[in-house]
């Protein structure tokens, strides 16, 4: 039973119904990251998919950018409680990047420049659920928002959408990433409010 905050009425927005529980709407694009912003030059950028032993796929920026792209509009939900609706991106679907790749793995560890990692079940990255995005609202993605390229897996809390992404390691068993080792939820569904490891 919640305690009523004497004299608090709050500010409800028309879009509040579109928000997952415990979130509030923002029009800005706040930045959250654990350390300094890495600056990755395009001529040294690469993206690999591996299985922990062998590299299975590899792209440099040029070959990555020659893949077919999609534009998509999604809502973002950050575990720090802001949500931003209707953001427009351009990127390559992970279905495209995983085409013809056979694997027994059920989990993925997403790896970033700056050594950030996050774990996501592989099925959450497939079937048009996830992209490697390089353009935001028509502009090249700024470094503080994850440029040159970031993962976007918008149906999970935004920490899963790793910035400065450099690859994916396929895993037979789940292994926690950076925030998942520091008390945050392993899956992170905003609609079930899976913020912290103690959440069901």
């Amino acid at each position: 039973m919640a305690i009523i905050s004497r004299g608090f009425s709050g500010r409800r927005s028309a879009e509040a119904g579109k928000l997952p529980p415990g979130q509030y709407l923002t029009a800005t694009f706040p930045v959250l990251s654990a350390g300094p912003t890495p600056h990755v030059s395009l001529d040294r950028w690469e993206f690999t998919i591996d299985d922990g032993k062998d590299v299975l796929r590899r792209w440099d920026w040029k070959s990555f950018r020659s893949l077919p792209t999609e534009t998509f509009t999604v809502d973002l939900h950050c575990v720090t409680r802001w949500s931003k609706l209707g953001t427009r991106w351009e990127g390559v679907s992970l279905d495209t990047m995983f085409a013809d790749l056979k694997t027994d793995a059920s989990y993925a560890l997403v790896r970033s420049y700056g050594d950030y990692t996050t774990n996501v079940p592989l099925k959450d990255l497939m079937n048009h659920h996830a992209w490697i995005a390089f353009r935001f609202e028509g502009e090249d993605l700024a470094p503080e928002h994850g440029g040159p390229a970031r993962l976007l897996v918008p149906h999970l809390y935004l920490w899963k959408s790793a910035k400065w992404v450099r690859g994916i390691t396929l895993m037979l068993q789940d292994r926690p990433g950076f925030w998942e080792s520091l008390g945050y939820h392993s899956y992170g569904d905003p609609w079930r409010e899976q913020r912290y490891s103690s959440d069901p």
Binding site: A2, A27, W82, G114
Partner: protein
């Protein structure tokens, strides 16, 4: 799990910031740098939750202090800084966070850099060190608009006066005290060089403040030779309403 805390004291830090002391009977203890989620609920059941860094050192009295800056457009901070009174009860969750933390076992030099209300988790680290009788050498570089916007001023002065291995430097961005040697301005490479630990001492750096401040300060620390894995950051956006 939501815990219930009772407000046992409120204290204004500046014209727009208030420290709230809560007593939480089932508080499990915390580490400096962690935060809490605070939930307000209206009489019709509508609720709003925001995160606030803990300002106080871990203590045996199950007390937690937060300092909240009143944001003119905020939904929660005007309530916490104006309406909330001693005796009120507040729901909170936490402590949360395991990355932007300082533990008394750490003995290496510590460099703290705060922008505005970003001082809160860094103050918890300074207080935690003092409470534990720690000897790790601490330096704080604290950027504020003007002298009137310094939080915890007397306490910082007393702590650094009593213990010379805690040193505090200020950067004023809009207005300086009379006779201040540096004109108003943001933290730059020269100020980093003259007030922070040399990178060859491999300090652990904690930078907290608004996004643009953290981007700039963390970038300057990197440029002066600190390795990225020694720089920990915590940022909040302009509408973040975080503290």
């Amino acid at each position: 799990m939501w815990r219930v805390g009772e407000v046992v004291a409120v204290r204004d830090e500046t014209a727009t910031a208030r420290t709230i002391t809560l007593e939480i009977p089932d508080w499990p203890g915390h580490v400096a740098g962690q935060h809490v989620d605070v939930r307000l609920t209206a009489s019709d059941g509508y609720s709003a939750v925001r995160s606030y860094s803990i300002a106080s050192a871990p203590n045996s009295k199950r007390r937690v202090e937060i300092t909240v800056e009143r944001l003119p457009e905020g939904e929660v901070s005007p309530y916490l800084t104006r309406e909330l009174a001693v005796g009120d009860r507040l729901e909170l969750r936490g402590p949360i966070g395991g990355w932007f933390v300082w533990r008394p076992e750490q003995t290496e030099p510590i460099q703290l850099i705060a922008g505005g209300s970003g001082i809160v988790p860094l103050m918890a680290m300074i207080r935690s060190r003092a409470a534990a009788g720690g000897t790790a050498p601490f330096r704080l570089l604290y950027s504020v608009r003007e002298p009137e916007s310094v939080w915890y001023r007397d306490e910082l002065h007393t702590l650094s006066d009593r213990d010379h291995s805690v040193s505090v430097s200020y950067a004023y961005t809009r207005a300086t005290p009379k006779g201040w040697p540096r004109p108003p301005g943001r933290i730059d490479a020269a100020l980093i060089a003259s007030t922070t630990w040399p990178s060859k001492l491999t300090p652990t750096c904690y930078v907290c403040g608004p996004t643009s401040f953290v981007e700039s300060a963390a970038g300057l620390l990197s440029a002066s030779g600190n390795s990225s894995d020694k720089i920990r950051t915590e940022r909040f956006g302009p509408t973040g309403d975080r503290r």
